[in-house]
């Protein structure tokens, strides 16, 4: 408890380029960038593979890779390959981490739509694209959002690795705190990351209320 008071109570911790607000902002920047890139790649890919049934192998590979891949190891590898100094070494592992939950859940969402529903949609005279966007996607939306949420939370929790390669973000408190044995910083940083993850969770709960049709939400 004292550590938390030390960390959050210190006026110096609330201003300047290494203060809490600045670090949160940096942290959110990496996370948002990685998350958005991953979403732009994985959502369309998941929809397409789910709709056509072609390329399903990619889903399996991606799902397994997600479990096996060490983010930190990947970070070190990318740094070795392209060096430090840019944001890229952080972004690449985060994007790689963020893709599988989105891809797998989007795919499963589309695949899981009732065959009768799909059939009725074609039977009414919808074309392939209309079936995908007007019927399959709205029905799969709860799962798509679940994938996005899992991915966002993972990214936010993992973005602290940026500190390993000299970049900012909330990881700084942890890394620097460990180096200087300032445990109040370590714990304070960890708490902030957890709070951020909670905020993401909350944001998605709200999003779910707004974009998912009540007709689909209830059926789940």
């Amino acid at each position: 408890m004292n550590w938390l008071i030390d960390f959050f109570g210190a006026a110096a911790n609330w201003s300047g380029p290494d203060g809490i607000p600045a670090r949160i902002l940096e942290h959110l920047e990496f996370s948002a960038a990685a998350f958005l890139i991953a979403a732009v790649i994985a959502v369309p890919l998941g929809l397409l593979i789910g709709h056509t049934g072609r390329g399903a192998l990619l889903i399996v590979v991606s799902a397994n890779a997600a479990r096996a891949l060490p983010t930190l190891g990947l970070l070190v590898l990318v740094v070795l390959l392209i060096g430090v100094g840019t944001v890229l070494p952080v972004l690449i592992p985060l994007v790689v981490l963020a893709i599988p939950p989105i891809l797998v859940n989007t795919y499963e969402g589309v695949r899981g739509v009732d065959a009768d529903l799909r059939d009725a949609a074609y039977g009414m005279g919808l074309r392939g694209g209309q079936v995908l966007f007007r019927v399959l996607t709205p029905s799969a939306l709860p799962l798509i959002l679940l994938g996005l949420r899992l991915s966002a939370i993972q990214v936010v929790s993992t973005a602290s690795v940026a500190a390993f390669v000299g970049l900012g973000g909330l990881g700084r408190f942890i890394i620097d705190g460990l180096a200087t044995k300032t445990y109040s910083d370590v714990i304070g940083g960890a708490v902030l990351i957890a709070l951020l993850a909670l905020a993401v969770q909350l944001a998605f709960t709200v999003l779910d209320r707004v974009v998912v049709s009540p007709g689909v939400r209830q059926v789940r």
């Binding site: 949609a121 039977g123 009414m124 919808l126 209309q130 709205p138 007709g215 689909v216 209830q218």
Partner: protein, 358 residues
């Protein structure tokens, strides 16, 4: 008119689901495909709107080969109702019904107005329009499915076991409602079922298919019941063919005598019962203008003295049919298969069907 010309469907695994099927489904009438499970009913139906393409042969819609029409365009002009309704779960009922009008580019207001009209037509309360499909009963969903299929007023309606997932009471009311709709709309309907009673109740023409996708017999229900083509059809039709056939013989020809004095009537000459020592005995009535010979016979069986009371549309006594008179009528129809009775079994007590579901 929908014409099958030597249509065969062989699935990639070699199964021949439909074998050289040739038949005509006349315009403005209900043609029922009936047969045991796996005999190719669904396959035949789905080749009409090209959900499945035939391996060989042709299907003509009026004079046009369906293969010449791009499938989505073709399907927008053909209503399609399936067993599990297949409503879009994320859309309100009104928007579900308006699906095809939206596709055809109607403006939203017009499409929704049309949808509301159809909900009323199929007997659904307009307050259901704003609900989502999961908030409706199975029978209500099925009605929405029918409304959706009719929304853009297509001349042709394809129905694949649309009522088989609901309980018997709701099923009967949906069947009545369909006949009622058809008497106003005169669509060309192809209806698939494995239930012979449903086929006989609904069909103007019934095509009996046997496993392997061959046509066993195609005829109107009365002919089917009186002259089944072979043992397979006879067995498939089941028991009581003779009695069931009488439903299709009008009671107009029954000789009526004047009402005997022991028939008690009220001041409007509506029947009250047969007078006897112990009070009034039960009776049965039929309307010779509307009812079938089966109904007349039933009325006779309900009276202890075997005499059926003939009434007019307002329930007033116009005469009685004695056993002898009914006997004559039965003998006559035995030699000349009667024409079809149009309305009796088909009258829809609208309020009742609605009550059955709410």
């Amino acid at each position: 008119m929908i014409t099958f010309e030597g249509v065969t469907k062989r699935y990639p695994d070699g199964t021949v689901a439909v074998d050289d099927l040739s038949l005509k489904a006349p315009t403005g009438a209900i043609t029922v495909f009936v047969g045991p499970s796996g005999c190719g009913k669904t396959t035949s139906l789905r080749m009409i709107n090209r959900m499945i393409d035939a391996t060989s042969g042709r299907i003509l819609l009026d004079d046009q080969d369906v293969r010449a029409i791009d499938p989505p365009t073709l399907r927008r002009g053909i209503g399609y109702v399936i067993q599990q309704a297949g409503l879009f779960p994320h859309r309100k009922i009104v928007d579900n019904v308006a699906t095809v009008p939206y596709l055809l580019g109607w403006d939203k207001k017009k499409a929704r107005a049309r949808a509301m009209e159809l909900l009323e037509l199929v007997g659904l309360d307009s307050k259901l329009a704003g609900r989502y499909p999961f908030q409706l009963s199975g029978g209500q969903q099925q009605r929405v499915g029918v409304a959706r299929a009719l929304a853009a007023d297509p001349p042709v309606l394809l129905m694949d076991e649309p009522f088989s997932a609901v309980d018997p009471i709701v099923r009967a009311s949906l069947q009545d409602e369909l006949l009622h709709l058809q008497s106003e709309l005169h669509k060309t309907i192809v209806f698939v079922t494995h239930d012979i009673d449903e086929a006989i109740k609904l069909g103007d023409t019934v095509a009996v298919l046997r496993v392997g996708g061959r046509l066993a017999q195609m005829a109107d229900p009365a002919t089917l019941l009186s002259e089944p083509a072979d043992d397979f059809v006879r067995e498939f039709l089941g028991k009581d063919r003779g009695i069931r056939r009488l439903s299709f013989v009008p009671a107009t020809g029954v000789r009526l005598g004047s009402a005997p004095t022991d028939l008690e009537v009220d001041e409007d000459t509506r029947p009250l019962g047969w007078r006897s020592n112990g009070g009034l005995l039960p009776y049965g009535t039929f309307n010779p203008e509307r009812d079938s010979l089966r109904a007349a016979l039933d009325a006779a069986l309900l009276s202890p003295n075997g005499t059926a009371i003939a009434v007019d549309g307002d329930g007033r006594v116009i005469g009685v049919a004695t056993r002898d008179a009914l006997d004559e009528a039965l003998t006559r129809q035995g030699t000349s298969p009667g024409e079809r009775v149009s309305e009796p079994d088909r009258e829809v007590p609208a309020s009742d069907t609605r009550r059955a579901e709410s």
